[in-house]
């Protein structure tokens, strides 16, 4: 025979100040938990979405990032003819790229931050299908024209269509804004790779990477095999999406660890708060419990009853915590990507999975905070409880 839940509901209502304390403690913890993990997720998602499943990125063998890589024009020509490379009207869909970093003033602080400038092949939009021009137009090959991502134009002063900016020792005209679907590219500026080489006085026949659009996602293996067997090439091939996932590792790890630690510590604090609440609940209701036991409700029923109460409180707390941080979803912030030394904007990404995890975390805290007092309540001898006025 179970103790009716309405008893728990009324009891919580009667001691609502204590309940609110526990609820807020749990809400705060869950909020921080979800917020920090969504920060890490957002960072990773931004980078990962930069890569496409049906693109492959080619860099010098052993290079861990574009900046450290170098491939020759000749190698790119060889790559273009390997099996697996998609073609449009007979032309291979390949973009050979160089990335540099240039300083521009942030709108928010006025101080400079490093923007990644990517010198690309003019056909880049055929390879990167998730990028489209939303204002102005694409740059014309051979001219010092620049298109900027939408985060870049929002974060920095002066990166608007029609404006001219100076970097690399040259004067550039901004001719368009592009939308890269919230990926890292949205924080970049793109221009003709050849022009960039000239301005930065780099040798014209060396790039840092080549990105190839595959004829189909499964074509990767064929492409990879052909490339590794070719004695003229000394390169590594990875699926673009995997490359970017790896790029995000360092920062993601940092945020996840920091956030996880903070949430764990707060969780302990919340559990302590819940324990306090539940123990005082047990103490204040000692006589009621004893009477119920005397009436015939078993020890298990008592434990269950208190546990339900704790879970109720923690569920409400978890829900409040999740709802409180929901507005953060999509909120953009920015930080330095340590692997490219450039400033990158990304957005909090709250997924349904994360919310569920938050609620589960809350319920877990509820159990941890509700079980010991519940057991204590059940084990107290009935006569002792009745005696203590």
């Amino acid at each position: 025979m179970a103790i009716p839940v309405v008893y728990n509901l009324r009891s919580v209502k009667a001691r609502w100040t204590s309940a609110i304390v526990a609820i807020l403690g749990i809400a705060g913890t869950v909020g921080v938990f979800v917020a920090m993990l969504s920060l890490a997720r957002g960072f990773r998602a931004t980078l990962v979405s930069s890569g496409s499943y049906d693109n492959a990125i080619v860099m010098r063998a052993g290079a861990t990032s574009e900046m450290m890589s170098g491939i020759t024009l000749d190698s790119v020509k060889i790559l273009q003819d390997e099996p697996g490379v998609a073609r449009l009207n007979g032309d291979p869909l390949v973009t050979s790229e160089v990335v540099v970093v240039a300083a521009f003033p942030l709108r928010s602080t006025g101080t400079d931050a490093n923007v990644q400038i990517r010198g690309v092949s003019p056909s880049v939009l055929t390879v990167r299908r998730n990028v489209r021009i939303i204002e102005g137009r694409m740059f014309r090959p051979g001219l010092s024209e620049l298109v900027v991502g939408r985060y870049a134009t929002n974060s920095y002063s002066g990166l608007t269509v029609g404006n001219q900016v100076r970097f690399g020792g040259g004067l550039w005209t901004i001719v368009g804004i592009f939308d890269a679907g919230g990926s890292a590219f949205d924080s970049e500026g793109w221009c003709d790779g050849r022009v960039l080489d000239d301005v930065y006085k780099r040798p014209n026949n060396i790039f840092q990477s080549a990105t190839v659009h595959l004829s189909s996602p499964d074509a990767l293996q064929a492409f990879k095999d052909a490339v590794s067997k070719d004695p003229r090439l000394d390169v590594d091939v990875s699926r673009e999406i995997d490359y970017y996932a790896k790029q995000s590792e360092l920062m993601t790890r940092l945020i996840t660890r920091l956030g996880g630690l903070v949430a764990a510590v707060m969780g302990i604090g919340a559990i302590i708060g819940a324990l306090n609440t539940m123990y005082s609940a047990v103490a204040e209701r000692g006589r009621e419990i004893a009477v119920m036991r005397a009436l015939g409700f078993g020890a298990a029923a008592v434990v269950f009853s208190f546990l339900i109460e704790a879970l109720l409180i923690s569920f409400v707390g978890g829900a409040i915590g999740c709802v409180a941080v929901l507005p953060l979803n999509g909120f953009t912030t920015a930080t330095m990507n340590w692997q490219t030394f450039s400033h990158m904007a990304f957005a909090f990404k709250i997924t349904p999975g994360l919310l569920v995890a938050g609620i589960v975390f809350a319920l877990g805290m509820g159990v941890a905070g509700g079980l010991p007092p519940a057991i204590h309540a059940a084990l107290r001898s009935i006569s002792a409880a009745l005696r203590s006025l």
Binding site: S18, V21, D112, A113, L258, I268, A283, M336
Partner: protein, 382 residues
């Protein structure tokens, strides 16, 4: 003091609750210390940078090189005491995850420009004589268990590629707690020898030591003026300005930390306030008796406040002590991604103050309630 027995007895009345509340404080203070330490680490880069040093980089971009020939020209500018040049090596030791900063240094000027990074003379001399010699910072050496005489292989993809090998000839220590002890230095000559021709004769940046910090602005301007309109224009700034710019790019860490800190503060306040309120409520009868006997209203308030402060203090000290133990471990877990995590005395003091503030505040309302308690009503209520 004679009321000690009463206060002590009241505190230990419910041991479980006492432990839980102490635990609350310990947890909150631990978090506070951790957050303060991280915030400090991010802000500190501006603090320890020397006031009498400038950094000169390529104006176009920090990743672009400068000609080696600039060194002499910079040295001739009035106000410049010494100049040294460095390159970022960026190689990989065993695994990408074992990141630590590697610099190609100019041994002739290194120690004079960076006097706070100390190498014993005998080790330095051995290093000078060894073309493939290297000096490692104490914390990196500790991390990988390196000893003098070890041979360290490092792979690179930037500087022409390949596996380079070095002999650990020395280990440096920072003079101040905040100094960076993670760097790895090796010989410029060896570097210049091994890089492909097209990369020779260049350096990543110059560090300039000034005669006096007051010359900073003037010398910086002079250096940049010297190379204006050349193919490699420079941008010179004080070390601290540089570091601050770097930190600002890391985003709004401070805001994040303040937000979390506030959430913690208020949650703690709630929990302890509630606990105090419950404990006072339970003792209404006794408090009434005390007042009947002749204890002053204010005495009762003080009683409650002292209890709250005692819990706050002990819980707080516990939390801060835990953080002293845990923070070095946590710093290691961040695998060198954050600068040194240092638990400074001011953080400890602030933490304790914060704990006592929460204690006093949480005890205030119930204490005032106890103070205002009318004996007559109390008995009627029971």
């Amino acid at each position: 003091m004679k009321f000690r027995a009463l206060i002590q007895a009241n505190l230990f009345r419910k041991k479980v609750r006492l432990l839980l509340t102490l635990g609350s404080f310990a947890v909150a203070l631990f978090l506070f210390a951790f957050l303060a330490v991280v915030r400090d680490a991010f802000n500190r880069s501006g603090g320890i940078a020397a006031a009498n040093r400038l950094a000169t980089i390529n104006r176009v971009s920090i990743i672009q090189p400068l000609p080696l020939s600039y060194g002499d020209k910079i040295a001739r500018i009035p106000g410049v005491q010494r100049v040294t040049h460095d390159n970022w090596f960026g190689g990989v030791y065993q695994d990408e995850r074992n990141f630590f900063p590697q610099f190609v240094i100019d041994p002739a000027n290194q120690r004079e420009v960076f006097p706070e990074l100390v190498v014993p003379d005998d080790q330095w001399n051995a290093f000078l004589k060894d073309r493939q010699g290297a000096v490692a910072g104490a914390s990196t050496a500790k991390r990988f268990g390196w000893k003098i005489g070890d041979r360290i292989p490092i792979k690179t993809t930037i500087w022409g590629g390949g596996a380079w090998e070095f002999n650990i000839d020395g280990i440096y220590h920072g003079q101040r707690k905040a100094d960076d002890e993670t760097q790895f230095w090796f010989q410029w000559d060896y570097f210049e020898e091994r890089v492909p021709d097209r990369l020779k004769g260049q350096t990543g940046w110059y560090t300039v030591k000034l005669d006096s910090p007051d010359d900073a602005v003037r010398v910086a301007k002079a250096i940049d003026a010297e190379f204006a309109n050349s193919p490699y224009e420079t941008k010179t700034d004080t070390e601290s300005a540089f570091a601050e710019g770097w930190v600002k790019q890391s985003g709004n860490i401070e805001f994040l930390i303040l937000t979390i800190g506030s959430i913690v503060f208020f949650t703690l306040l709630l929990v302890t306030g509630n606990t105090m309120a419950i404990s006072v409520r339970e003792r209404t009868g006794e408090l009434a008796i005390l007042k009947a006997i002749g204890f002053k209203d204010s005495s009762v308030l003080i009683l409650v406040l002292v209890e709250a402060l005692a819990i706050a203090m002990f819980g707080g000290i516990l939390g801060l002590a835990l953080s002293e133990l845990a923070i070095p471990v946590l710093g290691a877990a961040m695998s060198g991604m954050l600068p040194n995590l240092i638990l400074s005395k001011s953080i400890l003091a602030a933490g304790l103050g914060f704990a006592l503030l929460v204690g006093a505040t949480s005890g205030l309302l119930p204490g005032i309630g106890a103070m205002r308690l009318r004996v007559v009503e109390a008995f009627r209520r029971i």
